[in-house]
Symmetry: C2
Subunit: 215 residues, 2 copies
């Protein structure tokens, strides 16, 4: 029972292994044996802790959803005052958030791996999609939306505002999804270094300047 430390460690290793492998290869292409091997565990453990492969996947997506909420500080940001004093302030807040998103999406390694999994869910949703939509996507749309809406002097639900949000998210997300052609075009073998990251940031920032009231 106090082996709970050990046991949950095995469950945790399975979770981590699945996160990595599902992210790299998708659900179908990842076998339970791979996950067990990666976690230095046994196939049977998956059934023991999670019931079956799908349940493990669900547990992983739940976990990812929570880690994204944490990583993007959704709760923090949502708690803040939504009444902005000036366009400069709203734009500054937007920049801060965008900066965090860009850095996260352009970063390689673990985060990039499971963000790819999230992108897969977005491209063709499984029954776990709502976990991500309600836990992350919708909230990010709203957080960006209230700021963009203020700058454009429109409602958060205005179609144009939603489309601007989507366009902004697309810009950022594509630094993960489309990183291969970008790095190849830039003739970089290694990933994003700090200098490149700053250029990316500045470019995305420059697009924020276009949010203005209708003339």
């Amino acid at each position: 029972m106090t082996k709970a430390s050990d046991s949950s460690e095995t469950a945790g290793k399975l979770l981590a292994a699945g996160m990595k492998l599902f992210g790299e290869r998708g659900f179908k292409a990842t076998t339970t044996r791979m996950i067990a091997d990666q976690a230095n565990s046994n196939i049977g453990s998956i059934a023991y802790y999670f019931g079956n492969k799908r349940n493990l996947y669900r547990a992983i997506l739940t976990h990812i959803s929570e880690r994204m909420q944490d990583k993007f500080r959704l709760y923090d940001i949502e708690r803040r005052d939504h009444t902005f004093r000036s366009p400069e302030q709203a734009r500054g807040s937007l920049k801060e958030i965008v900066r965090l998103l860009v850095r996260t999406f352009a970063s390689e390694g673990e985060v990039g791996q499971w963000l790819l999994l999230v992108m897969r869910e977005q491209a063709d949703p499984s029954d776990c999609y709502d976990l991500l939509y309600e836990g992350v996507f919708d909230r990010v749309y709203t957080i960006l939306g209230v700021r963009i809406a203020y700058l454009m002097e429109k409602s958060v639900d205005d179609v144009d505002v939603v489309i601007e949000c989507h366009t902004l998210i697309g810009q950022i997300v594509f630094f993960l999804v489309g990183r291969h052609p970008l790095l190849r075009r830039l003739k970089r073998e290694s990933g994003f270094d700090e200098r490149l990251l700053e250029s990316v940031e500045q470019t995305v920032f420059s697009h924020l300047e276009h949010y203005r009231p209708p003339t």
Copy 2:
């Protein structure tokens, strides 16, 4: 022998079936049986015409690469004069191209299906990736690049220009990859209607206005 009409019809049906299924479900999750069924053909026919599943996949990506080049009129556009007379002209040319890209990516049905396949290759490339990179990606980057470079008064190879290209492509691509959260946010069950499509177009257009010489 003159059954070539019939035979190539079977090969064509396998190609079309694979395009649809691989696009919807990815390589691994699509079985040869599904493809044969979808094509109203037999498993053996895949080996007969293409050797094996991977070769069929390769053939499909080759086909898609060609259809994309055609759909995006890459050859037409590349033949045009690359020396622009005025920012207005360059921006106009850019708008025309962007319009075509937006319409294609936002469209549902067949095109959307195999574009998803292309996105999958971009996210984690297989040995067929070069087919797409050299046949399409790189050329699109260049086509957009020369125009953006002119507007920014920088070189096509300038890092900032490449990043602007990437950002622009990301905006457009995300109307395919991220269409689910967008449509859900907009509370639309059906896909993109003409009104929405025009809003999308206008939003992306507005971002083109930001390409300006450094101050």
